[in-house]
């Protein structure tokens, strides 16, 4: 049970990435009786979605609709989940795929940890909580966040002072300071890459001076500020705890910009910015909310209506790309922008808090992970126009933002598609008797 390595028998599908796309693909395959190994780099599944406050355009509480999926995958008898495990590379040869993985030490034996958090309460060290995008505090040993799955403590070796308080506090003696990184290989019938996306640096555009002000924040930081269990319990600006009276959203702050090296559209920013503005108008009823945009891309089902509602709610939409942001007195920020629809004047506008819509960028390096070149945008190449989830490697499929920026619903559609392609691929290779989807691999049994 404390052996995190999978049993030697091969699995049908390795799904890389435990975000919404990976969870959906894993569930679609496991429900067809395939044995699935789901690998997640972070210490909990849930991906970006679990950290969001609400989702557009329905304004569902994000964790409320993510946790059931997480839980379904976590408890599924045919899905085995390995967290804190990174993909090193996929090797395809002679009709089989060998997935090389690296499991990072968490210094906790997940078989023994019962998630009681007594170690966390005993720990004397706190550091900026990555789940709260640095805004909150996290102890050096902690369950990553309240609805993390698995609910197991993880020790952060960079911040731990090795005082032993957690060892003394642990009722099940689960803490293992001698845990080491492990590398292992899994044989898989097929692989689905659902590795998601990253965000380019807030400081990418020097004219925005993001490094000079704590009040220039990322959209993910605002998600956390808006979340019911967020770092401050309410929306405050990070520099001094003030309730912001005027918040600006700067769209295309890291995409659609050749000078920043990201020519493509990040696709999700318009909608999440509108959503965040809407949520802010609920949280801060008297605040001025302004969205500076080039084009509002509310293209999905229900999105345009959502945008029109936001306008009707009094959120200001200003056509014009913000050219520079300068920190001014009282931790405020001054935005210089051409008000294109107000005679084309140039104005300096002051705001308490500025949210930069960062560009969505790839996290997976196809050359390293698969040995194939990336597409010109850096994401995985899509060589087949009919089977859009195929990659350049046979039997390796991809879904969601690994194939370019994508919102949740489009990721879910692609995850389903990747699961279907993988199922077809396995069926074509399986003996006729099991063509209808009966797995030849043994069901995995351990959740790690």
């Amino acid at each position: 049970m404390d052996d995190p390595r999978p049993s030697p028998s091969p699995v049908d599908v390795v799904v890389v990435g435990g975000g919404i796309a990976g969870l959906e693909a894993a569930l679609d395959l496991a429900d067809q009786d395939y044995a699935v190994l789901l690998v997640e780099r972070e210490s909990s599944i849930g991906g970006k979605m679990i950290a969001l406050s609400k989702t557009f355009p329905t304004l569902d509480c994000s964790s409320c609709i993510t946790t059931p999926k997480m839980s379904a995958a976590f408890h599924h008898p045919r899905i085995r989940i390995l967290t804190s495990t990174e993909l090193e590379r996929v090797e395809a040869r002679a009709g089989s795929r060998r997935v090389h993985l690296r499991r990072k030490p968490t210094y906790v034996d997940n078989g023994l940890c019962i998630g009681c958090r007594l170690c966390e309460y005993a720990c004397p060290v706190e550091f900026p909580d990555p789940f709260e995008e640095g805004l909150g505090a996290q102890r050096a040993i902690a369950v990553p966040f309240s609805n993390a799955l698995p609910q197991k403590a993880v020790l952060d070796a960079r911040h731990c002072i090795a005082c032993g308080a957690c060892v003394k506090a642990c009722p099940t003696d689960a803490i293992r300071f001698d845990q080491q990184e492990e590398r292992f290989t899994v044989e898989a019938g097929a692989v689905i890459l659902a590795t998601g996306f990253g965000l380019n640096a807030l400081g990418l555009k020097p004219e925005y001076h993001a490094s000079q002000s704590l009040n220039i924040i990322s959209p993910m930081q605002l998600e956390r500020l808006l979340a019911p269990h967020g770092p401050y319990g309410r929306v405050l600006r990070p520099s001094d705890g003030k309730v912001p009276g005027s918040v600006a959203f700067v769209l295309c702050a890291g995409s659609r910009d050749l000078s920043l090296g990201v020519p493509y559209c990040s696709r999700i920013c318009c909608m999440y910015s509108i959503k965040e503005a809407m949520l802010l108008s609920g949280a801060l009823p008297v605040a001025d909310l302004t969205v500076y945009y080039m084009d509002i891309r509310a293209f999905g089902k229900g999105h345009e209506q959502f945008y029109q509602n936001a306008k009707a709610m009094g959120i200001n939409f200003v056509k014009g790309k913000v050219a520079r942001i300068d920190p001014v007195d009282h931790d405020d920020l001054s935005l210089r922008v051409e008000l294109e629809e107000e005679g084309g004047r140039v104005e300096e506008r002051r705001h308490d808090l500025v949210v930069l819509a960062q560009g969505a960028i790839p996290v997976l390096e196809p050359a390293t992970a698969l040995g194939v070149p990336a597409a010109p945008d850096g994401f995985l190449n899509q060589p087949d126009t009919v089977r859009i989830t195929c990659t350049d490697i046979e039997g390796v499929f991809a879904a969601g933002a690994a194939l370019g920026p994508k919102d949740i619903v489009d990721s879910i559609l692609e995850a389903g598609a990747a699961a279907m392609e993988a199922a077809r691929f396995l069926a074509a290779r399986a003996p006729a008797s099991s063509a209808a989807g009966k797995s030849t691999a043994s069901p995995p049994s351990v959740h790690a």
Partner: protein, 107 residues
Amino acid sequence: MAALTEAHKAALKRFRELRKQKGGDPGKAAAQFRQERKAVESALKRGPATVPELARASGLPAHKVLWHLAGMRKYGTAQETAQDGDYPKYASTLSPAEAPAPAPAQP
């Protein structure tokens, strides 16, 4: 709870040594953290205050004070009480004599 066994001690020692080889030493940061946290806690002893007020009282930058308050709220040693203009006020949940003892947080 359990005491440290020899095996635990050996593992801790190896852990420290290995990290030293890699060149990481969080001791300094931890000491600074404790010092700052104490400053915020003692500033709070004078009664509920806003972040800028606590920053003045503790000599720490306002953003650090806010960060410490976030941690203290999470682990149950501070709470928001009232609002003073644009700034919420925070109070300690510890009795003046009480040493800072972490209370279980709620998920």
